[in-house]
Assembly symmetry: C2
Homo-oligomer: 335 residues x 2
DNA sequence: AGTCGATTCGGCAAAATTGCCAAATTTTAT
DNA sequence: ATAAAATTTGGCAATTTTGCCGAATCGACT
């Protein structure tokens, strides 16, 4: 048994390591939930006690706990795991790192990058706009990277231009900043009938894959944006989140505010405990469907334009984004 | 809490429903493990007691338990879940259904089917043989389906021929028949250097996806069989299993026997508790790497021949299989 | 300063999970 | 057929997880 409990202690230590402010049991629980673990708040405190006794954490009064040097050492020793790099872990990391502030309208957001041959860009731009126009996009903002420019740890190749789209993970970060832990459960291919979401055709859970689900759907040619735009019957990429039941109203409120800054992407919000699009949710949670960030460029692959996309490529300052209607001007400026 | 326990009771009932012979606690535990659930044997008995009291199961002496009418009703009422259809569930189902008997060399095995234009078949046959020859295949057997023939619930289209390859899930069934519960954890893209497996490039867990990982890798053009065959440097599709630690020798033994009947596909067997190719395994288990069943046809996609593959398509009698070296003759007979 | 409300914490106990063991029974070997 | 070995089962207790509650602490407002 000590095997299992040891692993849980490590999970807690790992979260503690990633933050520099003390965490109380409830704050830590939020993170735990956002990562998909299921504990009660009491259990967290139970482990805090054990970790305190072992000297791996320190009780900083009512502020919360911090990890000690000893705890960091313990973590380092056990760090052998997690070489693989599931998407779920990457999502969590980026969620911590992004700094976008909804009210100040500044800070960094998480972006995907697609490499497109610069000379074909003007030709395909209208297609991309169509997706934004139809509302099957994560917000209305985008950005461009010149060849040679660096995004995350990728560099735009010569002769190519990087098209940056907002990653839907950005929403997680915004929600978390408002104290709402959103768990990213999976990416799915959503079937639309007459513009109405009906059911998931395919599903890939984030914590079970090293490949981005949306990239997979796009590269496998399983999407159908052309149809979705033309007559509302098609298949588009979306993400599925779970939020605490009692934060539902809060989320709906934030969704509105996000829309005003060009980051609207929440498509559906379910009811506590109720399945959403036939997907059951955990007890005390509600399901949320979020538009996929890569959607605007997916239509290119569909229409025969080869592109290379990297989801979760890196972070970009909000100021560097512009409205999609400016795309043509920006492209002209680039050439 | 009763929410959680109720779900666990259902899991047990579901297994009980799928078998017609009484199951003892240890037999049921094997099934649970094969499905990826982690219980102790005692806990199973604990739930048996509860289910007995509720009248949902019946104690048939030392033989084991059976589900009662009441239990079936309870299941039906809760059946709302699982609409989505993760691959993990499908794997479990098929593992139960297949009947291949290693010693009698008869019964059904699980196969994948790839649709290939009949007229291009003779041209690509040598390529397929190369993969078998190089040993990057699940066994040495295959089968062909004429157009119009039915496999599972798919029908071979006109002008096409169905190429049936052995699905690696077949091994699960054989192991289970020998009392070894093998849990299928994920499909991965394995990097080879000088013919040696080195590390996983990508990973998709079976219980987190509705798409077959190998199909994804193939359709996304991420495989590199050409390289793997030419100089031993490439990327091939494999499956990862976990077996009980103390069944290791047993599995190695079975692996040999399977090879003699043309079903050899076990590539690596790790040590109890030790990571295999940087993949950590659960406590008391050992990792196993199994060659992907679709490998032989993957090379076609790689070389530009469009094919359509369906993993886990259906079951085929072992007698209908033939050695890959007979392929050309069989193709001639078909034309 | 005093009060209210919210948050955090730890004690206690109930519920859930699991280890250990001995009795009953079945299977296997002789 | 009989003895030995293995399996199955249920009782008891230890461990783990969680619910409930009262006390302590912090911040905000009067």
């Amino acid at each position: 048994m000590s095997e299992k409990t040891a692993r849980k202690e490590l999970v807690i230590l790992r979260i503690l390591k990633d933050t520099d402010v003390p965490l109380s049991s409830s704050k830590l629980l939020e993170n735990l939930h956002a990562m998909g673990h299921d504990f009660s708040e009491r259990t967290v405190r139970h482990y805090f006690q054990i970790l305190d006794e072992k000297g791996l954490t320190e009780n900083h009064g009512k502020k919360g706990r911090l990890i000690t040097e000893l705890g960091l050492g313990e973590l380092a020793r056990a760090k052998v795991f997690d070489k693989v790099g599931f998407l779920g872990a990457k999502i969590d990391q980026l969620t911590y790192k992004m700094t976008f502030d909804l009210h100040k309208r500044c800070g960094t957001v998480i972006t995907n990058v697609s490499f497109i041959e610069t000379k074909t860009l003007p030709r395909v731009a209208p297609l991309i706009c169509q997706v934004y126009e139809a509302g099957y996009s994560m917000g209305t903002m985008m950005t461009l990277f010149k060849s040679g420019e660096r995004v995350g740890n990728a560099i735009i190749p010569a002769g190519m231009t990087g098209l940056g789209t907002i990653c839907s993970i950005t929403l997680n970060g915004v929600l978390l900043a408002h104290g709402i832990p959103a768990h990213s459960s999976f990416g799915g291919l959503l079937e639309l009938h007459k513009h109405k979401p009906t059911r998931f055709a395919e599903i890939i859970k984030y914590n079970g894959t090293s490949l981005d689900p949306l990239e997979v759907f796009i590269r496998s040619g399983m999407t159908d944006y052309a149809g979705a735009i033309k007559n509302g019957n098609g298949r588009i990429g979306v993400g599925f989140r779970e939020i605490p039941a009692d934060s539902r109203d809060n989320v709906l409120d934030l969704a509105d505010k996000l829309k005003t800054v060009g980051l609207g992407g929440i498509m559906l919000v379910g009811w506590p405990g109720q399945p959403l699009l036939e997907i059951p949710v955990s007890d005390g949670r509600a399901g949320v469907v979020i538009i996929g960030g890569l959607n605007p460029v997916a239509i290119l692959e569909e229409t025969g334009t080869k592109i290379q996309s990297r989801a979760l490529a890196g972070m970009v300052e909000y100021e560097k984004l512009f409205h999609y209607k400016e795309m043509n001007d920006r492209i002209d400026a680039l050439l």
